[in-house]
């Protein structure tokens, strides 16, 4: 059976760096990008190991600023 994989897209300049999304990811791939500062002056949230994403949408569900969009990739 095809495994459901996800792609997480951040509207980075809307991120307020609150870190809530980093606490709810079952595969622990949502991190704060400490090497970047967005237009609001915060380190934005990001995902590096996108191939591990299971498209559970937890991160988008808890984000108070509706920064995150999620797509599924069938393989």
């Amino acid at each position: 059976m095809a495994k459901r994989r996800g792609r997480v897209i951040f509207q980075e300049d809307r991120c307020k760096g609150c870190e809530l999304c980093t606490t709810v990811c079952p595969v622990d791939i949502v991190k704060m990008n400490k090497s970047k500062i967005n237009v609001k002056g915060y380190h934005p949230a990001t995902v590096d190991e996108m191939e591990k994403c299971i498209a559970c949408a937890n991160c988008a569900t808890i984000c108070p600023d509706v920064v995150i969009k999620i797509e599924t990739i069938e393989e």
Binding site: R7, V24, P64, K69, E71, I73
Partner: protein
């Protein structure tokens, strides 16, 4: 490829002015999603409060009205009576609803006004800088309770849902939380039910949503989720207090 989560049409594109991690934003999104899913966005009219969510009229993608502090239920009463086919809601904080506007909410519920109230309980006055609210917990520090709330001089925190559930006209009363993903999903279900009760013309409905105020609680957004869970849940039990027979 398919999109499984994206910004709802129930919200405008405007960025929220809320502090980082403030769960007012989560609650806005849930209300917007529900209005779209019920197909009533085009005939929704919201009433914004005074408090941090005073600018809610900029964020909901439907007609909006502003009310004086605590008076959103009176304004919503007028709107719903003149436009009975529209879907009317108020969005109110705990200072707004449980303090200055206590009379308004009780009597709107008592009259069985057919609108829906989204009640955001963050146990403090956010906008004005962290004064004690009727909902502030015992021992919780506020600018007007620097040593923590003391029951002997200020009474116990007011449980609005339990109180409103004693009123016949309040046909739907539920308390939910947005401090974790499971809670957020349940909160959305309750908001949807409350709007369905209005659409069916059954009476007044309110959803009390436990929410965070990291700025005035003086802790980080992540710590705030934990603080809510450990301190608010024991005093403000989650659950449904009233559902109309038809809606069960």
């Amino acid at each position: 490829m398919s999109t499984i989560f994206e910004r709802t049409d129930g919200l405008t594109d405007k960025q929220f002015h809320y502090c980082p991690g403030c769960t007012h934003g989560v609650i806005h999104r849930l209300v917007g999603e529900v209005l779209v899913e019920l197909g009533v966005l085009g005939k929704a009219v919201g009433v914004a409060p005074v408090g941090c969510s005073v600018l809610a009229y900029d964020y909901f993608n439907c007609d909006m009205h502003e009310a004086a502090h605590g008076r959103a239920p009176a304004v919503a009463t007028g709107i719903k009576r003149v436009l009975p086919d529209n879907v009317v809601f108020t969005y109110q904080g705990d200072g707004d609803l449980a303090s200055i506007g206590t009379a308004e909410i009780i009597h709107a519920a008592h009259r069985g006004e057919k609108f829906t109230t989204i009640f955001v309980n963050n146990a403090i006055y956010g906008m004005t800088g962290g004064q004690m609210a009727p909902t502030t917990l015992i021992g919780q520090k506020a600018t007007t309770a620097p040593y923590g709330r003391d029951a002997a001089t200020t009474g116990m925190p007011l449980r609005m849902s339990e109180m409103l559930a004693t009123i016949d006209g309040a046909v739907f009363v539920e308390r939910v939380t947005v401090h974790n993903v499971a809670g957020i999903r349940k909160a959305k279900k309750a908001i949807k039910k409350a709007f369905e009760v209005q659409i069916a013309g059954l009476g007044f409905g309110i959803v009390e949503i436990l929410s965070t105020c990291p700025t005035n609680w003086g802790i980080t957004p992540v710590e705030s989720l934990k603080w809510l869970e450990e301190n608010m849940l024991p005093y403000y039990p989650l659950g449904n207090f009233r559902t109309p027979e038809e809606g069960k």
